[in-house]
Point group: C2
Chain length 210, copies 2
Amino acid sequence: MNYENTGRYLIPEEIEKRSFELIEAELKTQPDEELKPIIKRVIHTTADFDYAENLCFSDEVVKKALEAIKNGADIVTDTNMAKAGINKKSLARFGGEVHCFMADEDVALKAKERGVTRAVISMEKAAELNKSIIFAIGNAPTALIRLHELLQYRKIKPELIIGVPVGFVNVVEAKELIMETEVPYIVARGRKGGSNVAACICNALLYMIP
Amino acid sequence: MNYENTGRYLIPEEIEKRSFELIEAELKTQPDEELKPIIKRVIHTTADFDYAENLCFSDEVVKKALEAIKNGADIVTDTNMAKAGINKKSLARFGGEVHCFMADEDVALKAKERGVTRAVISMEKAAELNKSIIFAIGNAPTALIRLHELLQYRKIKPELIIGVPVGFVNVVEAKELIMETEVPYIVARGRKGGSNVAACICNALLYMIP
């Protein structure tokens, strides 16, 4: 097939630039400069300005996260959707990889045996990686609850927890748990979030590194 | 490692059931019975009740979509994230497959040559599949614009267009274009949507088939 260009197509870079300008103009309050690229990218991904209010950041989290990425931290996520959305090429520049253990056979088996979610077992598997890790949780509140326990047991020392599961049961509480710890975090307070939001926060961080 | 179960973990099926009950209870108006599973699943995926208002359905679209799936229709999406999220096992029961051409080398090459988006070329590639197709567009408004053109040229006859790209530039207009056609559609009117929403609408349809 062969079609004429209709001239109605903006290239993606132009669309993104114009979108970010529109978002900036519609923001009711201007966030800190270092947080802005994250907040704007999440709004870009969701068209939902609620994230301007509900995203919570621990002290100096951006600085710490960028440092971790530059030092080759891996990212562990709780969905293959988030894994598909993270810019793996950008991360690989620094030696990092993205993992999602949710579909692993050993994970499914252990979850069944112990009567817990696969997300719980996935977090335990991640704890055994013995690597510098950024957790990006966009789906399973049980992943956050297990991370909180692993923190209490001092079994993990993550560089960052991106806690943005979406949902109606256990989600709000699980996010609050993470914000009570000492771990660097980026959390979407309340019910909202998702795999797309988790991936997009990872990408926002990656794109902050020239 | 070995941990005690803390008893704080609901299994995913219980969480989902309870979530749908909460969503049902919080809906301000009750949608048509046949549309309800789709609307509720989108709210479940986003925790955003705006979708109760902005999802638009063409006449008898659910009946037509389920028929198409049962007859082995393929799904073509515009992101690998949506592809990752669609329940491919459920679709395979009826002989259907999920395609995403966005990362194909020939697509990238042609897009560059013609100065259009990869989404445009992906839609043209899909048109050549010569199969019964459901389009699930969660990201690129240019995909919808090209589908609209291909419909005008009578180059495609999709079973369904799920038009839920998210964004600030061209998105609102592209969705309206699709709703002006004769094609069966499910569209999230306005700026909101996303790969997660596209995948979730596909899954809602799949889960309606016993």
